[in-house]
Point group: C2
Chain length 429, copies 2
Amino acid sequence: MKKVGVAILGLGVVGGGTYKILTEHRDKYIKTHGVDITVESVLELRKDRALALGVEESRIASNISEICSNPEVDIVIEVMGGVEPAKSYVLAALNAGKSVVTSNKELYCKYGYELEQAAKHNHVGLFFEATCVGGVPVIRALLDNLQGNKITSIIGIINGTTNYILTKMTDDGKSYAEVLKEAQSLGYAEADPTSDVEGYDAAYKLSILSSICFNKKIPFADIYREGITNISEDDIAYGKKLGYVIKLLAIGKDAEKGVEVRVHPSFVRATHPLASVSDSYNAVYITGDCVEDVMLYGRGAGALPTGSAIVGDVIYCATHTQHRYSTFPNTEKAASSTKFITNFESAYYLRLLAADRAGELSKVTSVLGRYGISVAKVVQDIDEKNRNGEVNLILVTHSTKESNVKKAVAAIGKDISDTRVVSVIRVLV
Amino acid sequence: MKKVGVAILGLGVVGGGTYKILTEHRDKYIKTHGVDITVESVLELRKDRALALGVEESRIASNISEICSNPEVDIVIEVMGGVEPAKSYVLAALNAGKSVVTSNKELYCKYGYELEQAAKHNHVGLFFEATCVGGVPVIRALLDNLQGNKITSIIGIINGTTNYILTKMTDDGKSYAEVLKEAQSLGYAEADPTSDVEGYDAAYKLSILSSICFNKKIPFADIYREGITNISEDDIAYGKKLGYVIKLLAIGKDAEKGVEVRVHPSFVRATHPLASVSDSYNAVYITGDCVEDVMLYGRGAGALPTGSAIVGDVIYCATHTQHRYSTFPNTEKAASSTKFITNFESAYYLRLLAADRAGELSKVTSVLGRYGISVAKVVQDIDEKNRNGEVNLILVTHSTKESNVKKAVAAIGKDISDTRVVSVIRVLV
């Protein structure tokens, strides 16, 4: 019987879930995989957490060195989150000849190149399936199933908190602020929700996923990022009338003319498979030149779903001797040959507040036309006036360049008195 | 540069697609995986097919021995379909020390245990991702991502032809016979469609998938199988009114009391993620004790999607030295400890033709009650009579045992004059 010892760094939500899975399924893995995986050590400052999970006191380490020098530990699971001290601990483990399994998206996104270098140097494994989309098997699918494809696009709903908030806003017609407060009280959003609601978390994951998809380094710094804090319940309701659902999308595209990587709210047609991904469910929609469209869907977060991904990596690591590293030069920055497109093309939803006067629509479309923007859908209801006597004018454009829309929005504000653009939301085409 | 030679047995739709992917992406794989994969040989009786694809005449083998004795061939891709001669050829290749990648679900389902034995004996790889659900990365997800879970259920739409037919019947209100004919003329259904429409193809795949899911051998012979040939456009229309969509489902469940494996048409709630899997798209919906629900969706067939799965296996095989075999005793038959449940529980949709008389509904529900069956939904419209003056009476039951429904249906025919059950369709709960 092969014996493999693991250490867990951090016994928070995911660390606790991982501990439970490993201990409760120990006999199963002996039977199915012929390997006895035991938790030899944990590192957790809050000793009570460890004891509450049933960890023997003798297995609670007081510092990372104890774990690195413990010959019973073969694999170190890092589930602390954040860059430091996680980074120093992971490097120490790798340099001590331990393989590492991590769920830390920020760390892997920002310093994956450095961690991988250390793993290569020490001939150990570095596994990171759990960094992206919880229990959904996306990273290994890209590495070991779809690797024969030229992947042209990946579109993901890859942050559970924002998807929960947007779903609630849609279903209950409540404001962002109201739903955020509810989500915080339920533990679905952090006290400081910035990383989720401003799109940082999604951008970390998009950096990791698109680097694998496109076989080139896509650093976090090159990803356009816009959060959901300005989305209003009114726009969600108007979008619904037009057959759209709002989602925070992470979009990566790789084409002849360059790479496009962006995280922002977007309207999605209600018939698109991504439209029905609700609440804290996540999904990635991948297009390859051979496989066509593939969608992988499931729980993007949570103790046991993320623990499932971690334990999948642990069992793989425990039963395989060969290590595998990136299929692209994994450097800090993008290769100089990688061209990023920032003035990307999209369809746009524009909501304007206009004076209730004949000819306003014509003025607006004329300004849009000046910038080469043509209109696909219009909704105007003069019976729905706000307290200032203004009416909502909703336009959805055909696909156009971002820069044209910015110029047109500025020109409308300047050239048309009493009419202004209040919302600009991209629409997935 | 590592050089790896492959041979392709069969240049039909999938073989041709695989050849194209490998030759057109050769430079890409050199760059991303540091391996030069070349098609060294093909076995195809119709020489014109090979020549039309651009295969050099010198690389067209005239028999399997030529391939087995060719030292340039490391991996044999079997995409012939059917049991013989595919089985003999695969065994010959394995015994000649070649790794094998196959898309042959019937062969792998029926003789996987024998092929694996030969692979183990010869220390070579046996890869079969392409046997199930085309380009959708399901097998490796089960083996290398979800393997830490106790999988409790897998529900799949895993046959493209039947899903295409049922979708067309639903969208166009046409009969099975009519849509089948159309599908045949478009090449979406075979001239002899038995394997697809009677559920054999789905059952082969369910045997392979559920064996992996449940870590025990689930032979084809133990799978309950029922095709779609008796599904009528009327039932589809009535189901729609009740909020259901019809699908040919492959269902595997593993619980304390035993294993349940069955392929049959089933109504699915329109809000279930599987309901929106239309046309020739396929999906598997997997539930594990840690990961919760995961759905994997994409093209379940076709030259390039299936080729994508094959090439994924080829690249994996070409870049990994360690072979991996089943995580259960892979024998011909099920283990004697495996208990199969044949009298399974389900909700049921029943359509009856009843005399337009007061009290008929009450008689029917009274018979159902006698067998412990309670009714969840009823639809009856006395204004919709058929030419015999009969009315349709639609009942949906709560979850009950299959045997109770069979007895109740027989009793209704015997005990209630002028009223008979015309359709019985299971409903996914």
